[in-house]
Structures are given as C-alpha cells and as structure tokens.
Symmetry: C2
DNA sequence: GGCTTGATACTCGGATAAATAGTGTCCGAGTCCTAGCGG
DNA sequence: CCGCTAGGACTCGGACACTATTTATCCGAGTATCAAGCC
C-alpha cells in the first residue's frame, strides 16, 4: 500500500533495447557469419517478426548490415569494441531527450520573461545534466566489454552460442 | 532522412514530472501559504483536473500536504532544501527501473546457465550503473537549488509568483 | 452582543473515458542457391 | 563433362492490427467559512 501502485505506471525502456543488445552480443560471437533474424528469435524464444523490426532499426543506424536471400542474415558492420551500448539504445529508442521542456515559465499570465531566448530553464538544465551522465555511462561500455563480462562468468557461453548459431 | 523517423517514438518522461517540478517551485515561493490546484493550473495554463492528479502523487509521496475546503490547497511538507528532484521524479513516475531485464540468457534452447541465481547479467549491470548515475545527479539537486538558479537569472520572479498566487 | 446552528461554497480524491505509443503480425520484393537441360 | 537457364526457397523490409500506457475529464466526499437566528 505504501507503494505508488494506484496512480502511474512509470517510464520504462522499450523491450526492443534488451533484445537488440543481446542480438549484438550474439552477432559478435558469430564472428562475421551472417545470422538470420529467425535464428536469433528462436535462440531467445522471441516473436520473430517483431525482433526483425528491432534489427531493422539497427540496420538503419548502421550498426549491422543485412543481406537477403539464402545464407543471408545480419552481421555487425564494425568491430565489437567500436560499438557502444549508447549507440544501440539510441538506434532503437530514438535520440530525443527523456525530458521534454515545454517552456512553462514562458507561458501563463505572468510571462516570466522570454527565458527561451536566452537559455534553458533551471529544471531543463538539471534534467539535461542527469541525462548526460546517463549517456556518458552508456557510451563508456562497448559490446566487446559486455562480451568480456559474460566470458568472465561463463567462459563457454560464446562458443556454444556461436556453434548453435552457425549450425545448419 | 538519416534519422530513425520511421520506426520508433522513443521513451520520454511523463509530462507530469515537469508540471510537478514547477508546482514544487511555486509552492516553495508561496512560503507555506496553501495554494489550490486550480490556481497552479491557471498559472501555467494547464488542464486543472489532470494537474490535480499529479499533485495527488506528490501527496502520497509525502512531499506536499493537502487541505480541503475554503482557504485550502497544497503546501510543501518540508523545507525546499530538503526535497530533491529525484524524490519528485520518483513520486510521479514510480520507482521502478528504466530497464527491465527479462533474463534472456536464462531462457531459450541453450539455457546459458541459471545466471539469475548468482547475479545480474552484463547488460542489466551496465544499465543499472547508468541509471544509478542518472539518479545520483537528480538526487544532488534540490528544489531550493532550482529556486536559486531561477533567482539568479530572474530575481523578481519568485516575488511576482508569490504575490500572484496569494492574491485573492 | 455573543454563541449556536445550518447552509453554502470551495477543496481534494478516486473512478471513468479518449488519445497516443508500444507490441505483435502479416504479406510482398529481392536475392541466392539448386536442379534440370542442352551443348 | 561443362555451361546455361528456369525454378524454388529463403531472406529482409515496410504496411497493417491489437494491446497497454499515458493523457484528460467528470462527479462525489469532506471541510472550513459565512450568515442568520437564538439566547
């Protein structure tokens, strides 16, 4: 009862981000081999058509490259160490800011001055700072880093995934 | 054209957060005087009934205190210096994490080990770290800080708002 | 004149609809591989 | 036996429904104020 249950859900990140991140990891382990979206979907037990949609976003962002037809699929365009988590998040979620300032100070009966003209309001400033810190953290981690972390706890995982993905 | 236009909107923060923050600022300037939600709404030209809903969330979180009846309204329960931006955001948006890990590694044909049992996966870890940085920034700023920033650029704003709010 | 008492107006609070974004699915366009046919 | 050609199967990409969340609104419950009547 002490919780906020009754009122508002809360902003959460799109499911697609998690999927895209995992797929990037898988593709890194595939080491250049083309992997169809269908294969990735059944590896994680996800809806294939919808996962394709997320991979499409990665394609538009230039993170992966797709090739149609038999033996086709998705491949990373760059080295895993050159792809940051932020890039993936931005590709799927879009680049707009979390907080959108509607310039409340500039409107209303008081018209607290045309502050929009000379800079951002205090609230917007604080939010931007926080968001920047968030992005900085995300930009500091690459797909290769994630792979390393996983390998540290489960050394055989990459190999097993690679084998399963490339198996006929 | 280079943008992500076609695919996905992007996660953005609820409008209510901005409204709630501005209202906290207004209440701080009101200096303990009770201000009805209706008054706050017309100050910012916002839908009154919906703004009330946000203030309701602040009430449940214990940030403001409401009194019904004539001469009633909302008041801050604490000193503006003791209310952080994070508290307001959490009150309105809810406390759950932005990134929700669905434990993709633990499912699927490979079953990469019951990692859920021994800790969080690499992706979840990175996301949590970034989110923590975000929260830390938000927790480092108080309503009083915001007030100070505004006063630095527009010294007469607090007084004007106070007078307008407390005028019959 | 002071006090009781009733009505009134104003406030918040939760329950109820409309709009928007996220989720999920389907079918068509394009490409490569494969198998058959002819030389 | 080798090259050409037609078919087929597999892939992605964008267009089309469905569900959940956000946004917005309304009406009822409660309370302090105010005014009138009574002592």
């Amino acid at each position: 009862m002490g919780s906020i249950r009754g009122s508002i859900g809360g902003m959460r990140m799109s499911q697609g981000v998690e999927w895209a991140l995992h797929c990037c990891l898988d593709l890194a382990w595939a080491e250049g081999a083309a992997v169809p979206g269908t294969r990735l979907a059944e590896l994680h037990e996800l809806p294939p058509a919808y996962l394709t949609k997320q991979l499409q976003a990665l394609t538009k962002a230039g993170i992966v490259r797709s090739t149609p037809g038999p033996r086709g699929g998705y491949r990373l365009t760059r080295d895993p160490a050159e792809v940051t988590v932020l890039e993936v998040v931005t590709a799927v979620e879009g680049g707009d800011e979390l907080f959108r300032c509607t310039d409340l100070l500039g409107q209303g009966p008081l018209q607290a001055g045309p502050r929009a003209a000379r800079g951002t309001c205090a609230i917007h400033l604080t939010m931007s700072r926080a968001e920047h810190a968030w992005r900085r953290e995300l930009a500091g981690t690459t797909i290769a880093d994630l792979s390393g972390t996983v390998a540290a706890t489960t050394p055989d995982a990459p190999g097993r995934v690679r084998e399963w993905l490339t198996s006929r």
